[in-house]
Amino acid sequence: MLAEALFFSAALFAIGVFGVLIRRNAIIVFMCVELMLNAVNLSFVAFAEAYGVAGQVFVFFVMTVAAAEAAVGLAIIIALFRHRQTVDLTNINLLKG
């Protein structure tokens, strides 16, 4: 099942990248990043079945980092919304040259 799992993982990762590029809502872009993390987790679990259980430990760490990232990222989005009254990424262009 390794090849199939890697196929699903690649497809989910690509859908995540696609979502990051086509959406303008910061929260949905952020959820797409979570989808990409999930796709990588699927690869880890699939490899863990073939190469030893350490892959599942890595999934554990990825989930922890994702939880920390979600907490900080959503706090940033809330701070941004307070400042700008929008989460549309086209309106958040302070760093644009």
């Binding site: 090849a3 497809a11 706090a75 809330i78």
Partner: protein
């Protein structure tokens, strides 16, 4: 109590590698397609709430795939942490910022869609090229090694042993990361003072 997936999975263990039972393969493809369809619906829904709920669906499908891949503990954690905790926080933020209406949608123009589709296809092609690479035979474990480990010691012990031995330092660093993230989230989310003066936070 024997659940449906638990009823399917042990049959797979008895078969020699390469000839998995039809039920196992069927469920693997079913949940995989379910995950991909849900993910596609997730990136194309206009309403943020609908998008978030489709993402929850993807995560449940992935949890089922984890169980089929002998990672029962990770599957449970996936449901509890990802589908349960992280997505609820996302939905709370959507509710707090009152974004649920999805006025006009937020999907970019056709040019962006073409670029995004090209980048996505390039990544899929790249990953396919990488999966063709051969790994050293010495790295490969005997068939059903992890499944036998889980049968012998339970689903959690094979993960806990490396986590608290080989990866103990990473585990402890993770706790510092979580502390920093919680403090950072509180500082960032804190209301500024009423008269525009910044408080001590």
């Amino acid at each position: 109590m024997v659940s449906f997936l638990q009823a399917v999975a042990p049959v797979a263990k008895e078969m020699p590698h390469g000839s998995l039972p039809l039920g196992y393969t069927f469920h693997f493809y079913l949940f995989g397609l379910f995950a991909i369809v849900s993910a596609l619906l997730f990136v194309t829904r206009k309403s943020p709430v609908a998008a978030a709920l489709w993402l929850v669906n993807t995560m449940f499908s992935l949890a089922a795939l984890y169980v089929l891949l002998d990672a029962q503990f990770i599957g449970a954690i996936q449901v509890l942490v990802y589908a349960g905790a992280i997505m609820v926080v996302f939905l709370f933020v959507i509710m707090l910022l009152n974004l649920g209406h999805g006025v006009g949608g937020d999907i970019r123009s056709i040019g962006w869609k073409i670029v995004a589709g090209a980048v996505g296809l390039a990544i899929v092609a790249e990953i396919f090229a990488v999966t063709k690479a051969k790994t050293a035979v010495t790295l490969t474990l005997p068939a059903d090694f992890v499944a036998k480990q889980i049968d012998a010691t339970g689903a959690i012990a094979p993960i806990a042993a490396p986590l608290f031995n080989e990866y103990l330092l990473a585990f402890e660093v993770t706790s510092i990361l979580l502390l920093a993230a919680v403090v950072g989230a509180v500082v960032l989310g804190k209301q500024r003072g009423e008269s525009g003066t910044q408080d001590a936070g």
